[in-house]
């Protein structure tokens, strides 16, 4: 203790007190205040940013859920549409088939009728032509046979004979 008191230097104490007071005043003004303010602000900023990020994440999740829902709905709608389309397609195909069949039958009928009438017409014409032709042939034959008097006589005689016979 005696040594401690002996070692105690009032001058050193005085300078230390002076330096410390000046240092505290200067540092508080020029260093600690700006540093503490900056750190506090930065921490507040970080906290805000974290909160914002959290909020954004939640929003994102909501958005994703929404997206999922919309996607689901769209998919369902698409499925329904495809199903409808398929039904319509099948119906259309079936209708077309029916129509085509009916049309075909009708056309066949018509064709058949046409063919019949054509045939009839052709037959009639053929008949007239055949009769004309026969007449011409007969005429030619007759003309030919009658050009010669003997032959005419012969024919007449044969005919007469036939007539007699009958």
């Amino acid at each position: 203790m005696e040594k401690l008191i002996n070692d105690f230097s009032f001058g050193l104490f005085f300078w230390q007190a002076l330096i410390l007071v000046i240092l505290i005043i200067l540092l508080v003004k020029f260093a600690w205040k700006p540093i503490m303010t900056a750190i506090t602000e930065r921490e507040a900023g970080i906290a805000d940013a974290l909160a914002a990020a959290e909020a954004a994440r939640k929003e994102m999740q909501n958005l994703q859920a929404d997206n999922q829902r919309i996607l689901q709905e769209a998919r369902a709608e698409r499925d329904a549409m495809i199903k409808d389309a398929r039904e319509i397609k099948e119906k259309m195909i079936a209708d077309a088939k029916h129509e085509a069949e009916a049309q075909g039958e009708k056309m066949i009928e018509q064709a058949k009728a046409t063919i019949e009438s054509e045939k009839n017409a052709a037959m009639a014409e053929l008949k007239t032509q055949v009769s004309g032709l026969s007449l011409q042939i007969a005429e030619k034959i007759l003309k030919n046979q009658l050009s010669d008097t003997t032959a005419q006589t012969e024919l007449v005689e044969r005919m007469l004979e036939d007539a007699k016979l009958s």
């Binding site: 401690l4 002996n6 070692d7 105690f8 230097s9 009032f10 001058g11 050193l12 104490f13 005085f14 300078w15 230390q16 007190a17 330096i19 410390l20 000046i22 240092l23 505290i24 200067l26 540092l27 508080v28 020029f30 260093a31 600690w32 205040k33 700006p34 540093i35 503490m36 900056a38 750190i39 602000e41 930065r42 900023g45």
Partner: protein, 396 residues
């Protein structure tokens, strides 16, 4: 990011590794200086009355020489000596100004003392330098000694700029530059650059681990300035003390007393009504007890800063004594086994001293915050009274 961190670590490691090596050089310088000084005293004292006691005091063998230089190292000095030549007694360094208040202000350079060899005459008074202390003397330089070899001559009020004052000024300038630099770096961006990256975690540490838990959310900002200043002031001075410059500032009782008094006054002046009520009129105890508790509580307020003062002084002084004694042992034994082993031990203790430098700065700040916290906190519950007394400092 990795490279500078590793570089920094390596630099620190290298510095720590060379620490004892450099101290060795320094110690021998101190031996030489001390030797030269005591020799000078002896020579000088031959002509004066108390030459016998003087000669007795001269370090005769190596052990007492080492003891003398350890003592010398722990003391403040009027010279900033880097090294000295034992043969010629020459000192390489610079003298610091001496400022005395003794029948007026007297300012002269310590160089006039010639390291204690000369008597300085200033304003009609004579002054002698003995073991780094200035005493009033006569024209012949007579010093009277008591039985402990302490001069009984009167001492003038010594306001000299000593080695410790220079160290403090350098520390103050360094701190001012470092922390205004850190403050400025926040203007450029939210994250500090350069050395500020090392300082900022320490600042945040003081706030989160020292100020906030002890003082409380509401009032801590008011005391941050003091706590931060004291922490870095002690820390830097502790670390400077570990350099081979041979400065021992925080191991000086005047310094620690001043620091402790600051904490004491800040505590008392910021204390609230409840704090004073607990000292002068302890609630919830019988009247007789209240009266009996008054002196105990008043004494309690004084023991806290006293413990602060002694703790820092003792820890840092002890560290210096241990390191220097271990280095001294190398010179005592002077052989191939003792040299490297004491070198290794000194290295080990030096590393511990680095830890102690941080720890003591932290403990001082922590306890200051605790005492301030006790004085400003609001007591709402009865349990707090018990807690209040149990929270006496027990950390060493």
């Amino acid at each position: 990011m990795v490279f500078p961190a590793r570089l920094f670590k390596n630099t620190i490691t290298a510095l720590i590794a060379v620490l004892p090596l450099l101290s060795v050089a320094n110690v021998s310088d101190d031996v030489q200086q001390e030797h030269a000084q005591t020799e000078a005293h002896a020579q000088h004292a031959e002509g004066v009355a108390h030459s016998d006691s003087h000669n007795e005091h001269e370090p005769a063998d190596k052990k007492s020489k080492i003891k003398a230089f350890v003592d010398h190292h722990l003391q403040d000095s009027h010279y900033f000596v880097f090294f000295s030549d034992e043969e010629t007694g020459e000192h390489y360094g610079f003298s610091l100004p001496v400022i005395l208040i003794d029948n007026g202000l007297k300012v002269f350079s310590a160089a006039k003392f010639e390291h204690g060899e000369e008597i300085v005459e200033a304003g009609g008074e004579y002054y002698a330098l003995y073991h780094d202390k200035i005493y009033k003397t006569d024209a012949e330089g007579t010093l009277d000694f008591d039985e402990h070899h302490h001069p009984t001559n009167a001492k003038p009020l010594d306001f000299s700029i000593t080695k410790n004052v220079v160290a403090m000024l350098i520390t103050a300038i360094l701190m001012f530059l470092l922390f205004t630099g850190l403050a400025k770096s926040y203007k450029k961006g939210p994250i500090p650059t350069g050395f500020g990256r090392v300082l900022e975690p320490l600042v945040i540490f003081i706030r989160d681990e020292v100020a906030l838990p002890n003082i409380g959310e509401k009032k801590y900002r008011k005391f941050m300035g003091y706590l931060l200043t004291v922490f870095f002031f002690i820390l830097i001075l502790n670390l400077i003390g570990l350099t081979p410059l041979g400065i021992n500032v925080t191991g000086n009782i005047a310094i620690t007393a001043c620091l402790a008094l600051f904490t004491y006054f800040i505590t008392q002046f910021s204390a609230n009504k409840e704090y004073w009520a607990h000292i002068f009129w302890m609630p919830d105890v019988p009247v007789l007890m209240k009266i009996a508790l008054i002196p105990i509580e008043i004494l309690g307020t004084l023991t806290k800063p006293f413990a602060l003062m002694i703790r820092l002084y003792a820890n840092i002084s002890a560290g210096h004594i241990v390191v220097m004694s271990l280095i001294g042992l190398i010179f005592v034994f002077k052989n191939w086994i003792a040299g490297p082993s004491f070198f290794a031990l000194t290295l080990f203790i030096s590393v511990i001293e680095v830890l102690v430098a941080f720890l003591q700065a932290f403990v001082f700040t922590m306890l200051s915050a605790l005492f301030i916290g006790m004085a400003v906190q609001e007591h709402h519950h009865e349990e707090d009274h018990d807690k209040h007394t149990e929270e006496e400092p027990i950390i060493i």
